[in-house]
């Protein structure tokens, strides 16, 4: 059984592919229906951000096992322009594209652990983890 799954993001349909891969992984780990929805939605937000702002990029979905705990780690990696002000991007409603500005702060709330690493001109890496309770 594959415990790591990579989906490269090039177009709108890859966003659907990424969230379907996330849903499958979440089901396999026996996450409840609400956590499945949280995980799938978080992946959708991160994949769309890559598609909109930072092509090329990919979503890596990885099962993790640590201290008798199981979880799912989502890593969104891109070689886009980077995020200038990460603190702003974390604010509800901050958008440079006429969106709702809900994506980044939303993912942080939906998942248990959340980290952004970004460098101008180099790219962005967002890591988010959900633990099975």
């Amino acid at each position: 059984m594959k415990t790591t799954n990579e989906v490269s993001i090039k177009n709108e349909w890859d966003i659907v592919a990424a969230r379907q891969a996330g849903r499958e992984a979440a089901k396999r780990l026996e996450f409840g229906i609400v956590d499945q929805s949280r995980i799938t939605t978080a992946i959708s937000e991160l994949a769309r951000n890559i598609y909109l702002y930072a092509l090329p990029g990919k979503i890596v979905i990885e099962e993790i096992h640590k201290n008798n705990r199981n979880g799912l780690r989502i890593v969104a990696k891109d070689k886009g322009p980077g995020i200038e002000d990460i603190r702003k991007a974390l604010e509800d409603g901050y958008t440079t594209s006429g969106g709702l500005g809900a994506g980044v702060p939303g993912v942080k709330r939906l998942m248990d652990e959340f980290e952004i690493d970004s460098a101008i001109g180099v790219g962005t890496e967002v890591t988010a983890v959900k633990w099975l309770k």
């Binding site: 709108e12 966003i15 659907v16 929805s37 949280r38 959708s44 809900a102 702060p105 939303g106 939906l110």
Partner: protein, 116 residues
């Protein structure tokens, strides 16, 4: 994939049964507004029971459909949003406050019939 829009008396009915990608969502928005214009429907029910995920993009499109239809003089009711989807939307910070909602299709139709 184009999502079918059914006409029932003076209402339009859309049941989203497929995984909605961004392009299909935009097409639905456009098709629905055209259909409202063609049929002068007094109300629209958007049945969302089968939707397993609504992210910020889809939520924005749904909200826009509600506002645009309203501007044309037609009410939209969103029905059947699943508990897991409702929880996720609120945690995302999306409240869809301007939208009429109902627990199921029948109640959605009742709301539209009560308004007019």
């Amino acid at each position: 994939m184009r999502i079918p829009i059914l006409k029932m008396y003076d209402l339009l009915l859309v049941s989203i049964q497929v995984e909605l990608d961004d392009i299909s969502a935009l097409e639905l928005q456009e098709d629905l507004l055209n259909k409202i214009h063609e049929t002068t429907a007094k109300g629209v029910v958007l049945e969302l029971t089968s939707m397993e995920i609504i992210d910020s993009y889809i939520a924005r499109i749904l909200g826009e459909i509600v506002s645009m239809a309203e501007l044309m003089g037609t009410k939209v009711v969103l029905t059947g949003i699943q508990p897991a989807v409702a929880i996720t939307l609120i945690e995302l910070g999306i409240h869809l406050k301007s939208a009429n909602t109902a627990l199921d299709l029948e109640k959605g139709i009742e709301i539209l019939n009560d308004i007019y």
